[in-house]
Subunit: 395 residues, 2 copies
C-alpha cells in the first residue's frame, strides 16, 4: 500500500512536469522539422508532431525512479531479493523503451511498412524471454462447453509465444489506425488505461494480486503522463502525438497483458480497436480501393466533419469485393451511392462509420462520442469478464 | 565457450546487416533533414547525420536475440535460473537503449546542455539499482603505500553511487568532445572496445571470469556493429555518426565498467579522452575564450588541416588565465603568438595539440595518428594494470 501512495505522488509530479515540458519543448520540434498541419482547421498553423516522445520519456524516468521504492523491502534483505520480479519490470521497461525509440525514429525518418511490423516484434523479445523464464505457461484454459472435445486445458506450446508477439504488434498498430482527429489516440488510451486500472483494483483481493500490483506499477505513471499529453492534444490540438505515442501505448498495454497474464481481458478493452481493424481489413488489404489518407473530410463553411469516401470502379470488382459490399450493406455498415460505372462508399474506419450514422459532426463532438463508445465497450468487457465468464469457466 | 561461438556468428551477421543498412537508409536521414556538411572537404555534399542510431539498433537487437542463447543452460533448469545475472543484462541493455533514444533525440532536436548532463544520469539509474541489488559493494581497496593511514579498504558508501553515475556522464561526454574529424569518434571507440575485449580474455582464467564473460557478451556485438559503422564513417566519411553514437558508446563502456567491476581499468583505457578533457577544461569553463567550434581549420589549397586558434584580449586576462598560460607554455603544450593587445593560441583540444606538434597534416593521417596514440595508451594501461599494479596491490 505504502509504495502505491509513493507512486501516486511520483505520478502527480510526472503529470505536472510533462504538462510543463510539452509547451516548452514545442519550438524545438518545429525547428527540427517535426510538425504537421491540422487538416480539420481553417488556420494552417504548424503543430509540433511526435510529442509522445516527451510523455514517454517522463513515463520511463518515473518508472526508473520508482524501482528502488517498489523493491525497497527486498533491498533490506538482499538474500531473498525477488530477482525474477525485478527482471520482469526491467524487461517490460526495456520493451517500452525500445518502442519509444522506434516510434520516434519512425516519426523522424518515416520508415517503410515492413519495419513497422518487424520492429514491435523485435522490441517484444525481452518480454518473451522473461515470460519464458518466469512462467513458461503456454496453456489455455478451455471454456466449459468445449471441454468434452478439448479437455480442461490445451497446451499450445511455441504457438503461445507467436500469439504474444502478435499481441504486441496488434496493440501497437491498433491504436495507430484508430486516429486522425484531435485527442482520439490519447483519449482512447486513457480509457483503456483506466479500464485496466479498475480491473487491477478489483483483482487486488484475488490470488493474482502480485500480477495486478505489477500492472498498477506500470499503468499509474503511464496514465499520469498520458493525461498531461491529453491536456495539450485535446481539441483544438496544440501538439500532435505521433506514431511514438501509439507505439509506446500499445507496447505498454501489451507488457501488462503478457506479464500480468490477462491478455484476453486486455483484448476485451480493445473492442473498438478490434472493430475498427476488422472494418478496415477490406481496405488495408486493398480488396476495396484505399486512398493514402482516410481522415474525415472537413468543411470550412460549417466547421463540421463529413465521412470521407472512396470510389470502386464496377468493372474492376472481383467476387470478394462484391461479397463484402453485400454483407456490409445488409448490416447497414456502409453508405453507398451507386451510378452506372462506379460505387461511391465511405472509407471504412470506425470514425467514418460514426459520421455516416450521426451525420456531419463537429470534431470535438466526434472525439467525445468515440470515447463514450470506448467507455461503453469497457462496460461490455466487464460484463463479459465477470457475470458471463462464470458460465464458461469455473469461478 | 559454445555461446561465445554463437555470439561471434551472430555478431558477424550483425556486421553485414549494419554495413548493408547504412547506405540503404542514408537517403531517409537526408530527407528528414538529418544531414551535415563536411567542413574539411572541398565538395559541399550533404552527409547523413546521426547514423549511430542504425548501428545502435542492430547492436541492441543482436543482444536481444542472444539473450535466450546465453541463458540457454539456465532455461533447461528454470528452478536454478540465474535471475540476478539476467536482471544485470536487462538493466545494462535498458541503460544503453535509453541512451540511444536520448542521443537520437538530441541529434534531432538539438537539446540544451543541461539535458545532456541530466539524461545520462537518468539513463544510468537502472544500472545503479541492479548494482545495489546484486553487489552493493561500495568498497575501494587501498593501495599498499597508503594503507598505514587508510587501512586495507575504504567503504565510501553512497559516494560510490555518485562515482558510478558520474562515470556514465563522463564516458558519454568524453568521446563526444574528442571528435570532429572523419572516423575519430568511431575509431577511438573501436580501440577502447578491443582493449576491453583483450583484458576480458586475459582475465577469463581468473576468479572474476563470470564478470568478464558478461563483459564479452556486451562488447562483441558492440564491436561488430561499430566496425560496420567505421567502414562508412572512415575518411572520406559517407555518413556522420552523431551524438547518438557517442552516447551509446559511452554508456556501453560504463555498463561494462560498472557491472563487471573494472571501472578503474576502463578509465585507464580512456587515457586520451581524459587528457583531452583536462586540456579542454580551461576553455570548457570559459577561463580561456571558447569559440563555438574548435575543429581544426581546413586549407583548400593544400588539403591539409591546421590547428584552429582563439584570441585572448590581454586586458581581460585574470590571474587564473595568466597562470594557466604560464603552465601550458612551460610544458610546451601550446602554440602562442603574442602582440601588444592580444595573445593568439591554439584551441585546446588533443586534435589541435597534435596539429601544432606535427605541423599541418592531412585528415586521414591525423585520425590514424590519434588512433595510434589511443593504442599506445592502451599499452600503457596494460603496463599500469599488470606489472605496476602488483607494487600497489597484493596480487
Amino acid at each position: 500500500m505504502f509504495e502505491i501512495i509513493i507512486l501516486l505522488i511520483l505520478s502527480a509530479v510526472a503529470y505536472f512536469i510533462t504538462a510543463e515540458l510539452i509547451p516548452n519543448l514545442s519550438d524545438l520540434f518545429i525547428k527540427a522539422g517535426l510538425f504537421g498541419i491540422d487538416l480539420c482547421k481553417t488556420n494552417k498553423k504548424k503543430v509540433p508532431e511526435a510529442i509522445g516522445v516527451v510523455s514517454g520519456c517522463v513515463f520511463l524516468v518515473t518508472s526508473f525512479i520508482f524501482i528502488p521504492i517498489v523493491f525497497g523491502n527486498g533491498l533490506m534483505d538482499t538474500q531473498n531479493f525477488p530477482h525474477n520480479e525485478f527482471a520482469e519490470l526491467l524487461a517490460g521497461l526495456l520493451s517500452i523503451c525500445c518502442m519509444l525509440l522506434l516510434g520516434f525514429a519512425d516519426d523522424v525518418l518515416d520508415l517503410r511498412w515492413r519495419y513497422k511490423l518487424l520492429l514491435p516484434t523485435m522490441a517484444s523479445l525481452p518480454l518473451l524471454v522473461v515470460y519464458y523464464v518466469n512462467f513458461n505457461s503456454t496453456t489455455f484454459v478451455v471454456p466449459i462447453p468445449l471441454r468434452q472435445w478439448l479437455g480442461i486445458s490445451v497446451n499450445i506450446g511455441f504457438l503461445y509465444y507467436i500469439y504474444m508477439g502478435m499481441l504486441a504488434v496488434f496493440c501497437t498498430n491498433a491504436i495507430n489506425i484508430l486516429a486522425g482527429i484531435n485527442g482520439l489516440e490519447v483519449g482512447q488510451s486513457v480509457v483503456i488505461a483506466l479500464s485496466i486500472i479498475i480491473f487491477d483494483i478489483i483483482e487486488l483481493r484475488g490470488d493474482q494480486y502480485k500480477a495486478h500490483t505489477f500492472s498498477l506499477h506500470i499503468m499509474i505513471p503511464y496514465l499520469a503522463t498520458t493525461l498531461a499529453l491529453l491536456k495539450h492534444n485535446w481539441y483544438p490540438s496544440k501538439v500532435f502525438v505521433g506514431d511514438t505515442f501509439c507505439y509506446v501505448s500499445g507496447m505498454t498495454f501489451a507488457v501488462v497483458a503478457i506479464l500480468s497474464h490477462f491478455s484476453k481481458t486486455v483484448l476485451l478493452f480493445f473492442l473498438p480497436q478490434i472493430i475498427n481493424f476488422l472494418y478496415s481489413v477490406p481496405q488495408l488489404f486493398h480488396i476495396i480501393p484505399c486512398p493514402r489518407h482516410r481522415l474525415p473530410k472537413y468543411s470550412e463553411e460549417t466547421d463540421l466533419l463529413h465521412a470521407s469516401r472512396t470510389i470502386i470502379v464496377k468493372k474492376d470488382m472481383t467476387f470478394i469485393t462484391k461479397l463484402i459490399l453485400q454483407v456490409l450493406t445488409m448490416l447497414h455498415l456502409t453508405d453507398k451511392v451507386e451510378d452506372e460505372d462506379c460505387i461511391n462508399i465511405n472509407n471504412m474506419t470506425l470514425i467514418n462509420l460514426f459520421l455516416i450514422k450521426l451525420g456531419p459532426t463537429s470534431e470535438v463532438q466526434l472525439t467525445t462520442t468515440l470515447m463514450a463508445f470506448q467507455v461503453f465497450c469497457t462496460c461490455v468487457a466487464f460484463v463479459v469478464r465477470y457475470p458471463m465468464a462464470s458460465y464458461f469457466y469455473d469461478s
